[in-house]
Symmetry: C2
Subunit: 325 residues, 2 copies
């Protein structure tokens, strides 16, 4: 944490800035299967980022590296080009989030809304907008590649997931500077969308040789598993990135701070509750995966196993340097 030079830093010494990371080892023990195509995906993503300069070179390089290693865990069975497509999608979103969302968007929500609204034609399958916006052009490229490998229902589902995540980042921009105004229920409802987790789950179907099909995906157990997995993504991210966020803002918009406000408890108590919530969600996901894969020929067996790998990638991610220090 930075402190003004020469000034004592009281900073709530009874509320240490050390979140308690949950133990996922009992529900999702490693080692996790990994795709052998991470290197290929990284090379392709490098070429892609040269075509669509979403970030400055150093930041692009770091994001490409962590993303390609991550998707190798998320999609261990993907073919090489599918893995590269998934990597590009995550790079696109994280670059947008880092560059235009979060702090920048909270400083000028209207400008962020206009940027996101400008993507609507592309999200609907139209051509990219102004040539000077690499995000629109890159998204158009991603969706064109998606059209080549996914049927219409999955394509529309993924585009819907992207729209939802973008809307959730717009929501975040409007509440980021006033976390105390956000009730716990509202936070829990929306946090699951803000980390691209719904799209990550749908992408698992896009990359699967035997996707589950819409009837299965819309069923109640599939929805419950997806929600558990997406909640876990957001909450783990909140805990793992807390120290980093705390350097940016005295009061980050984050599960621990929202819990502290809702429960009127201390920050350490909120850390502990958030960590318990993650472990409970992980246990729910594990139980659902167990049920759905009990019959390997069941309609959701493949889907459940694939969402399990999505959880693996979180377990892998929270241990990684992106969130460290």
């Amino acid at each position: 944490m930075t402190a003004p030079a020469g000034r004592a830093e009281p900073d709530e010494p009874d509320e240490p800035d050390e979140p308690v990371l949950p133990d996922l080892g009992r529900t999702f023990p490693g080692p996790f299967p990994k795709s052998p195509h991470a290197g290929y995906a990284a090379a392709e993503t490098g070429r892609w980022l040269a075509r669509f300069p979403l970030l400055e070179p150093a930041a692009a390089e770091a994001l490409r590296d962590i993303t390609c290693r991550g998707v190798a865990v998320t999609y261990p069975e993907a073919d090489p080009d599918g893995l590269a497509l998934a990597a590009a999608l995550f790079v696109w979103f994280v670059a947008l989030d880092d560059t235009h969302a979060e702090t920048a968007a909270a400083a000028d929500p209207a400008a962020y809304v206009r940027r996101i609204a400008g993507l609507l034609p592309v999200l609907g399958g139209g051509p990219a907008g102004p040539a000077d916006d690499p995000f629109g052009a890159a998204l158009a490229d991603l969706l064109a590649r998606l059209r080549e490998r996914a049927g219409p229902a999955l394509r529309h589902r993924l585009a819907g997931d992207l729209r939802d995540t973008l809307t959730a980042t717009v929501w975040e921009a409007h509440v980021l500077s006033d976390p105390e105004s956000v009730p716990l229920a509202e936070y829990l409802t929306l946090r699951r969308y803000t980390v691209l987790a719904p799209a990550a789950a749908t992408m698992a179907e896009v990359l699967a040789p035997d996707p589950a099909g819409e009837r299965a995906l819309e069923s109640e157990p599939a929805r419950r598993l997806r929600e558990a997995v997406c909640d876990l993504a957001g909450w783990l991210n909140d805990l793992a990135s807390y120290r980093r966020e705390r350097r940016r803002a005295a009061e980050p918009l984050s599960l621990p701070t929202v819990l502290r406000n809702a429960r009127r408890c201390s920050l350490p108590e909120a850390f502990a509750e958030a960590s318990r919530m993650c472990e409970e969600r992980a246990a729910e996901a594990r139980a659902l995966i167990g049920e759905l894969t009990a019959d390997p020929a069941g309609p959701l067996a493949g889907y459940a196993a694939r969402l399990g790998a999505v959880v693996h990638s979180y377990a892998w991610h929270i241990a990684h340097a992106r969130y460290a220090g």
Copy 2:
């Protein structure tokens, strides 16, 4: 226009508040076919509005009346329950727009963003949120009825259209009070989403016994026709509702005002240009419909004819009392 009592009202006397309505009689001449089920749809919509009280009774009654007469023109071939479903969808959106979007949303964009973001779980097929929000519950009911009659691709497409329209209303909330900040290109890009026209076009496929299928809907001519039809919806609405909007705001966010700012021309010149633009778009739509229906067995013949009926409904609507006076 209201003026402070006892005060002279200069009000730009050289810029009369009288938009020039375009002549659609050459491209889309009446009389238009009408469904015989408008009465059934009105009765069903009345019961639906009793379950989901989206508006005060008098406003609900007026909206139900105009909407059910409108959808009878938009979907002349729809079965009775399909027509009632379409009517409920439009009632839902217009009620949301009148109650929470536009002026109310511009006064507090963050509150509107939070309301719209709260609909994400329902848009994704989940259950309705807090029981005290009839809009969420009504939307969940609409989407459940949709699931009973449309395949997954069309369902996801329609949900995507709804998301886009809601995002466009969020955009509108952020720029409504400062129309001069909106470049013409941005306005033209987004106006086509703000009147639910994309969903109206998709609903035509939902209600058709022989929908065109995704490959056809995603083709270039289908996209061009859809864009022409959706542009026309927004632009005609701007001209037909201008006097009403002008009573609400000295400078409405509207095609004529955006054109006036872009061209640095007078308001009458902007009215005339907007009207010409409508006629040109109508001519484009007519030409595309002609091409696509030339072979009645062509893959887009039915779609093109159905979008023609969507245009009929605009021609019918702009003549109607909702916009009068």
